[in-house]
Symmetry: D2
């Protein structure tokens, strides 16, 4: 190192480092430019401008593009003979949707319910809470509270907190009243008809029983969308199954049949897309199933996890590429955000556009 | 503890804990309910529904409400005699806007420029990069890249990375060409006219010189919005000032006059609102000025920082309440999100609505 | 507001706000004071000083205290007649340990193995990966890589990445060779002896079969520590079970029996402590079991999750208090950190001290 | 894609994807292996084992290595004629230390003070709070509180919260009493002796005036370690300077001279190391100075920031490589952790070892 110096000029090492000339960039790199509100308030145009806004705005725009590609590919006709006879893929792209329990507690549930209602996704993976909270919401309400409500006071009053939401504990009592006879019936069918219950079969039955158009799982039942939740006992459903095991013992929930059923959804698909909101089991379970086909083709993660602690929840999509869970030529997108902020916007710019177009098409027929 | 047991019933301690009855909730608690896309795709309605969606969706909705309150209070007429003669508050609510450098590099700059252009905010605080990147964008473009572009290769090609943005180093060379004569002129005025330069005066001058309607600081200059940036030497401006100190030494930038000027904006305001995007200096500097008036009345933070490391950046608004930087009766809102995702949406639902209404009013006159 | 002004004094509102006098603090508040290295390098003393260092250093010190209380309470003799005959609590405090898969992939595994080996914990909850990665490590190594190794290249070479670790895919092939005959045998026992397999029974068997003192689950088997993992099919074990379902179909893994077994560990305990490293299923499953006893008495969480997205993973302990999963009079501790950084230090200052003391006691006998 | 199927075997695509063979790894990749507490509790050995523990444990071990390299290089004799006469580098490696205000409020201050006392670092950059909190601690104590203490109650009692610390507001009143005469004196010297005050000169003076061996800045003064803080008015010092501007106006604090002084520390160094705790100004300011020499040679970041929002605070070191702020051949280390957890451990394993060795050497002389 030699910092040359003359009386009147800054050290040359500094000037050269600061004023280093640059090579040309590729011609097709988008210029950064945000929305100009002088054009008027047009939220659709604002979201379009996110592609050239940078940071997570760009990630959101790319996620919207990726999901629109999933939808487009899904419409492609499946040629005859693809897949095994009994396992013919139903569409050009099988879409796996995963989400954590809290999103069902939140108003994101209505977006998810809309997707199930209009059969916009093919496979769902969620946690126990992601199932039961949807059913419970058909029985009683969840409310907006605050992140800082003190736990002790809440417990004394029988109010449960989920982030800034609150759920009266009575809701779970109502759930018990509703569920217990169904568990009795399930056990009866197991004992008399030889039904081998799995979490996915149980969720299908619960969707049928709830018989409520507000419910995600009602529509999953109606539209034959399989819902996987291998740890279905980890929540209020588990509490009730635990109580039931004293009152009327013997129910078996098998997770082996479900892993084969889930993997088959990936293996026999023409292409697959993964939309995963949050981390933990739902993220790993969908990605692992897609390893069975040497990787998903299209991928959107929405979560707040970070990679530095080596968690699967926080891992970037590129980690899943190394495992063969995402194709090596895929262009997966991760949006670093609370899904409540972005998922309704994503649905607005993707699936809902598509449903509206279909409806408009039908009207003009 | 006594886990009573009979053959056919679950332990009573478990049943009592799980089925604890709840007290009534306050009548006015909002029920959680997300947007129903069966109503059609209406993004404005989607954002309205965020209030009852929970988690950060609710925080975003509350932030929009808080800023709309700032705008409304700002319109309130100021009674005669309020404040000192020469320091009469200009409006019913003085709005402080702070943001970090990266947001000017991103397309959020266009939202900020819109606010300066329409004089929607009264005081701006930013970092050195938050000033220079706006000016440099008037000379050359910033591009969308990727978070994973390798640093070594980029440096060899003279390309600088900011998250998923890239800036050719030539842009900084152009900035040097543009800035050096201005520094000469500033030094001349200091020596001949006795100008005591401060960061805010320098930014005012740079806004005048850039003379470009794309620039935030052009509009801040035009609309007399003071811009504070006490560490103005911490960036490319500092690099150029450093080079200039060899070529043409003697320039002085004083930060004492600016702290008095900034504090006066808070002290003599009728009410104040703080909108702070990101952390670090901009967050602390605005809040500290508002301590001078025993706290801001209305507050919105948008950032991704967390409180667990005791940083000011990640501190919840309630920490600032303890310091007297936010009023004890304020209802401050923090949105945990990358500002690029939410700030354009916030502007769309607040300031831009207001500007459009004003414009519509003028047309009908 | 009235900002009184005279020529020579700052606005009174500012002076009063800034110089507001303070009330006395409680006498027993610890003074902040870090370690003085002039005392020499004594790491034990450094960690002692963390209590008065603030931020997460203080949290770590409190976590160490909380776990030492668990250990002390665990030693308390259990009076006769407590609990049901067959379910007599074995100690004064039943310690539940939960951890995510990545920690077994990391060197934290050796700390966990040490706890199992010395029977320092009573119940373990982990994910599928948390089981299989321990067994696979008995067959082949995991290596230190880097967070930025590119996924595509890794996949082409058959190398899997977990954060900054890498695992050759051959390790999973070796695991298949090892596991398949065990699955055959398990199916045989199911069909001939009527064994009703559950995840916990399967893990017990795998721990016996691996027969390797490096293994967590070998020691869990030896020391009869039940290990729960309701979604045991979500990982390489699931892949193998899936393959096995073609080769030799019929195995059933029931999760109902396990939820009763897990809940019983909580219900019939005298007191309970929860040590939970990471989020997702392991965090919720342990806490939910402790709801069955109206809350755990002692609690340490170590994770990097945040509450703002309403996730259970990021929820503060106080959220679990509202649900009755933690006692209202408990003093739960959350350490915001990657467990790899802090858990070995925690073990060093708690369990390992205790084991060493016991060993020293035996020697002097 | 063709999922071949026979009655008895799993789909071949699945088996091939799962059982893909792996290429050999480089021979020198470290095997993951954590500390074995059966070897006894040896905290130094535990920290040694962190290198092969993975995740942030490995990052911490690498940070310790990187800083030990800085110390070693610093000892290398500087050849004659290197640098300009008046600017001869004083050592083989100039170490820049940066930290945010909160760390001075915490017990990390004692580690930093130790480094200044033993002249282990060459340049310090911090924020206003990073200066004043050290001085104030010489006047009165800071206490351990809790993150959830309510802001309104605290304000009413005149208690300020910093994360889980609390500072009585009286401390700031004492600071005013101490500081005002010094400001008077500084102004006098400016007016009578022509002193051109800069933040670094003011900090030097304050260090002299505080005359307390507990103070970081006392030792920085004694050992002639320059301390830079361009936004020195952004905090309690600014409040006092603001009040002083009414009582006794005219003080000027120039930031131009300081940027040249800071940059010179980097330009005329033989090699440089950066140790940066936290984000915001301190991180950018040190890195920007190191651009002046085309990059630092050795780098350790400790912070909790993330890159996804494009902030400089959260940027990985590789972003700084693209800017020329870190050498392209450097091996920079980022530890994702609250500095209170890891910095005392880092000092224990680096600087303090070195000081102890020096002291031992002197004794044996």
């Amino acid at each position: 190192h030699a910092a040359s110096l003359s009386r009147n000029s800054a050290p040359s090492v500094a000037m050269e480092a600061v004023l280093k000339p640059s090579c040309d960039l590729p011609k097709d790199m988008p210029k950064i430019r945000g929305y100009d509100f002088n054009q008027g308030v047009d939220l659709h145009a604002v979201l379009k401008s996110y592609l050239t806004t940078g940071f997570q705005a760009s990630s959101l725009a790319l996620a919207i593009q990726e999901i629109n590609t999933m939808i487009e590919k899904r419409l492609e006709p499946v040629e005859e003979g693809e897949g095994n006879e009994s396992e013919t893929p139903k569409s050009g792209c099988t879409i796996f949707l995963g989400y954590t329990s809290n999103l069902i507690s939140s108003g994101v549930r209505e977006s998810i319910r809309y997707l199930a209602q209009h059969k916009m996704v093919d496979v769902i993976v969620t946690t126990a809470g992601g199932v039961e909270e949807d059913l419970i919401k058909c029985l009683a309400h969840t409310y907006l509270g605050d992140f800082s409500l003190p736990g002790k006071e809440l417990r004394l009053r029988g109010i449960n907190r989920i982030g800034n939401l609150v759920v009266p504990n009575d809701n779970y009592c109502k759930f018990e009243d509703w569920l217990m006879p169904i568990l009795d019936q399930m056990l009866l069918e197991q004992n008399t008809e030889g039904t081998r219950w799995t979490p996915s079969k149980m969720i299908h039955r619960l969707g049928k029983e709830i018989n409520n158009t507000d419910s995600v799982y009602y529509w999953a039942y109606k539209n034959n969308i399989p819902v996987f939740s291998p740890a279905l006992t980890d929540g209020s459903l588990g509490d009730m199954i635990y109580f039931h095991s004293y009152k009327n013992p013997g129910l078996i929930l098998d997770i082996v049949e479900d892993i084969r059923r889930l993997n088959s959804q990936a293996v026999f698909a023409k292409r697959t897309g993964m939309i995963i909101l949050g981390g933990g089991l739902v993220k790993h379970h969908i990605a692992n199933a897609n390893l069975m086909r040497n990787g998903a083709d299209y991928v959107v993660y929405v979560n707040t996890g970070q990679e530095f602690d080596g968690s699967d929840s926080g891992a970037r999509p590129d980690e899943a590429v190394s495992w063969g869970k995402i194709r090596t030529d895929a262009k997966p997108v991760k949006v670093y955000a609370d899904a409540s902020l972005v998922f309704p916007l994503i649905v607005a710019e993707t699936f809902a556009q598509h449903v509206d177009k279909l409806a408009a098409g039908k009207k003009t027929d």
